[in-house]
Each structure stands twice: as structure tokens, then as C-alpha cells.
């Protein structure tokens, strides 16, 4: 009570423009030294991690604060679906209006990611290849990455795969796998004409291979798809992509001539290098997806 009164007194004095501390001499002589509170000491990561409750409250608080801030940002964003938003600028007009003339692809997205931004896609294919190589490093079975228990489990799985009949799965896989792979090939080859392209088609083919492998076991798969085939297909796909695109950039940038004929837009054999690039990307993605599956199950492709 007393403190509050003195605080009001101080405030009054401060508002009136008088000296800030009343009875300054007395205050200085009687004041006790302020204890320095070190927040650093209280809030080390160790301390926060050990106090589950504090950690939970802090993380929920941060997330809710983030959501609130971002909602207020969304509140003042331009209206959804409006044609005059800043996102819909002259770049989009250029892609849409002269896209067919310059790339020859009816699907503007395919023309964009495989012609205007082909290096981007090249980098992305490399990311996929790197990811599967990292998984090979981590999970491939060898001297250092070997445990008896796991070996036994894999042998048991093999036993079940070969000796146990799964008639529904096997007959279903036999019927469906060709259709799935055929559809994947259709999606890849029509990448410049209809929705789809290398990424989606490759994933569909990979899913077909996974279905076949899970129905008939890895042994049967290894009769036509080994680690050698895997690396060969991936590396040759990446190299072909690189060669095609460097040729196209070289001739296009320097006006050397020998440009690739664009063909009539809408035909299957049109749009320059987009079709072969789609095939390259599709092969890489299909191999990568199957490679993930094989490494995750048996530790070997």
C-alpha cells in the first residue's frame, strides 16, 4: 500500500516535471543493491528440455503466436482468386501467350518446368538421385551394417515369400501391374499434351514395380532389376538430360542454327526436347521409387 502510494507520488512528480526521485539523497543512501537476475541461467536449452511442462507451454505458445501473426498477414493479403493480384504478373502472361510458340507444349506447366526452367528440374532429378544414394549408404547391407537378428528376420521373410501362397495378392498383382505400368508410360509420353509428366508417370511406374515386388518377392524382381541396372538407368538418364539441355541452351542462346524442330503443337512427336526429357525424368523417378522400396525392405536392390 505504502509502495503504491509512493509510486503515485513519483508519477505525479514526474508528470509535473519535477525531479524524478523524491528525496534522492535518502534513496541513494538506503537503497540495496539490485540482485542481477540472469535469464540466461534459467532458460538454457537443457533446463527447458528437462521441464516438460515448460517446454510444452513454450512450444504451443510459439506455434499459436505464429498462427496469429500469419492470420493477420493473410487478412491483409489481396483477395483470393482475383485476376489483378500481384502474383499474376507479366511473367505469367509471357508463359501463357508465347509458350506454345516457343516450347511447342500444349501443357503450359510441362513447357515451363522442362523448357524455361529446365535447370531447376535437372537439379531436382539430382536431388532424387542423391537421396537414393544416401539411403544406399545408410541401409545397404555390408560388413559394417550387419546384425544377426536382422539377417534372421530377412531369411524368415524370404521363407514366407517363397513358401506361402497369397493367391489374391498374386493374381491381383499379375493382372494390375501391367495396367499400372502402361498407364504410367501413357502419362510420361503425354506429358506435354495432358496433365502429368515425368514425375507423376515415374511415380506411377514405381508404384507398379512396388506392387509386383511385394506380391512375388524380391528374388523374382532381381532377375531383371539389379543394382547395376538401377545405377545404369539413373546415371544414363541424368547424363542424357544434361546433354540434351546443354545442346538446346547452346544452340538457342548463340543462334547457331540446327535448332530442334518444334513440330505441330498437339502431336505426340512435337515440342522439341520436352518428350525425351520427360522420358529421362520418368526413368529416374521410377528407379528411385523402386530403389527406396527395395532398400527399405531387404537392404539391397
Amino acid at each position: 500500500m505504502d509502495e503504491k502510494k509512493s509510486f503515485l507520488k513519483h508519477l505525479e512528480a514526474w508528470v509535473d516535471g519535477e525531479e524524478v526521485i523524491l528525496d534522492a539523497d535518502k534513496y541513494i543512501s538506503t537503497r540495496t543493491k539490485k540482485e542481477k537476475r540472469s535469464w540466461r541461467h534459467h532458460f538454457t536449452i537443457q533446463y527447458v528440455k528437462e521441464n516438460k511442462k515448460l517446454y510444452g507451454i513454450l512450444s504451443i505458445g510459439i506455434s499459436v503466436l505464429f498462427i496469429a501473426i500469419m492470420l493477420s498477414v493473410v487478412n491483409s493479403l489481396p483477395e483470393y482468386g482475383n485476376a489483378h493480384n500481384p502474383a499474376n504478373n507479366e511473367v505469367m502472361e509471357r508463359y501463357l501467350e508465347s509458350g506454345i510458340e516457343e516450347t511447342g507444349a500444349i501443357n503450359f506447366v510441362a513447357g515451363m518446368i522442362l523448357d524455361y526452367r529446365a535447370f531447376d528440374t535437372f537439379g531436382e532429378s539430382n536431388v532424387l538421385f542423391l537421396a537414393v544414394m544416401c539411403v544406399v549408404l545408410l541401409l545397404k547391407k555390408d560388413k559394417n551394417n550387419y546384425s544377426e537378428q536382422e539377417e534372421q528376420e530377412i531369411q524368415e521373410d524370404d521363407y514366407f515369400d517363397t513358401n506361402e501362397k497369397h493367391p489374391i495378392l498374386q493374381i491381383g498383382a499379375k493382372l494390375i501391374t501391367p495396367l499400372v505400368i502402361l498407364y504410367g508410360i501413357y502419362v510420361i509420353l503425354n506429358g506435354h499434351l495432358s496433365p502429368g509428366g515425368g514425375f507423376s508417370g515415374g511415380t506411377i511406374i514405381g508404384a507398379g514395380l512396388i506392387l509386383y515386388a511385394s506380391a512375388y518377392g524380391q528374388k523374382k524382381m532381381q532377375s531383371f532389376f539389379t543394382f547395376r541396372t538401377f545405377t545404369k538407368i539413373c546415371v544414363s538418364g541424368l547424363l542424357t538430360y544434361c546433354a540434351c539441355k546443354s545442346y538446346s541452351f547452346f544452340t538457342g542462346a548463340n543462334h547457331v542454327g540446327y535448332e530442334i524442330p518444334k513440330g505441330i503443337a498437339g502431336n505426340i512427336l512435337s515440342s522439341g526436347f520436352i518428350l525425351p526429357l520427360n522420358i529421362c525424368v520418368g526413368l529416374i523417378v521410377a528407379c528411385t521409387m523402386y530403389g527406396f522400396y527395395a532398400l527399405f525392405t531387404k537392404g539391397d536392390i
Binding site: 506447366v109 514425375f199 507423376s200 511415380t203 512396388i210 527406396f292 527399405f296 525392405t297
Partner: protein, 84 residues
């Protein structure tokens, strides 16, 4: 009408995302995530980008969940395989 369907789908997305955090069973969590990806594929169609719809349906609902299931099997969580 169309806006109503979109809002319902978006609410379903939020429900799935919250459901993943509150399920104890990892198998159920992965299946909820699979449903989340499938609904996402439908939403791409509403946003007029069929390329994304195909890719998300093949990747998110197909390969991603297969990878999650294989990991669950490897770490002995799936019931009916080997426990512990």
C-alpha cells in the same frame, strides 16, 4: 455450392492434421496421413492444377505411405509381425 464443398474438404484437412497429433497408435497415424494426402489431391483439382493432383495422389498417398509402413515394420511396431 462449390465453395461449400471446398470448405468442407479444408476442414477435413485440419481434422486429419489434429487427429495425427492425438492418436497413440502409429499405424493409425500413418493411415490418417494417407487420407490427408488423398483429400489434398482432390483440393488440387479444385485449384485447377491437375498436374499436382496426379503427382500428389501417386506420391503422397502411394509411395510416401508405403515408405512409412515399411519403416513401421522395420521398427517392430506393426501388430501381427514381430513385436518388441
Amino acid at each position: 455450392m462449390s465453395t461449400g464443398i471446398q470448405i468442407i474438404l479444408l476442414l477435413f484437412l485440419i481434422a486429419c492434421a489434429i487427429g495425427v497429433s492425438f492418436t497413440e497408435n502409429l499405424f493409425v497415424a500413418v493411415i490418417i496421413f494417407m487420407g490427408y494426402s488423398s483429400i489434398m489431391a482432390v483440393i488440387w483439382l479444385f485449384l485447377e492444377s491437375p498436374d499436382l493432383a496426379i503427382t500428389e495422389a501417386a506420391v503422397g498417398a502411394g509411395v510416401d505411405s508405403v515408405l512409412f509402413f515399411l519403416t513401421l515394420k522395420k521398427v517392430h511396431i506393426l501388430k501381427g509381425t514381430r513385436e518388441g
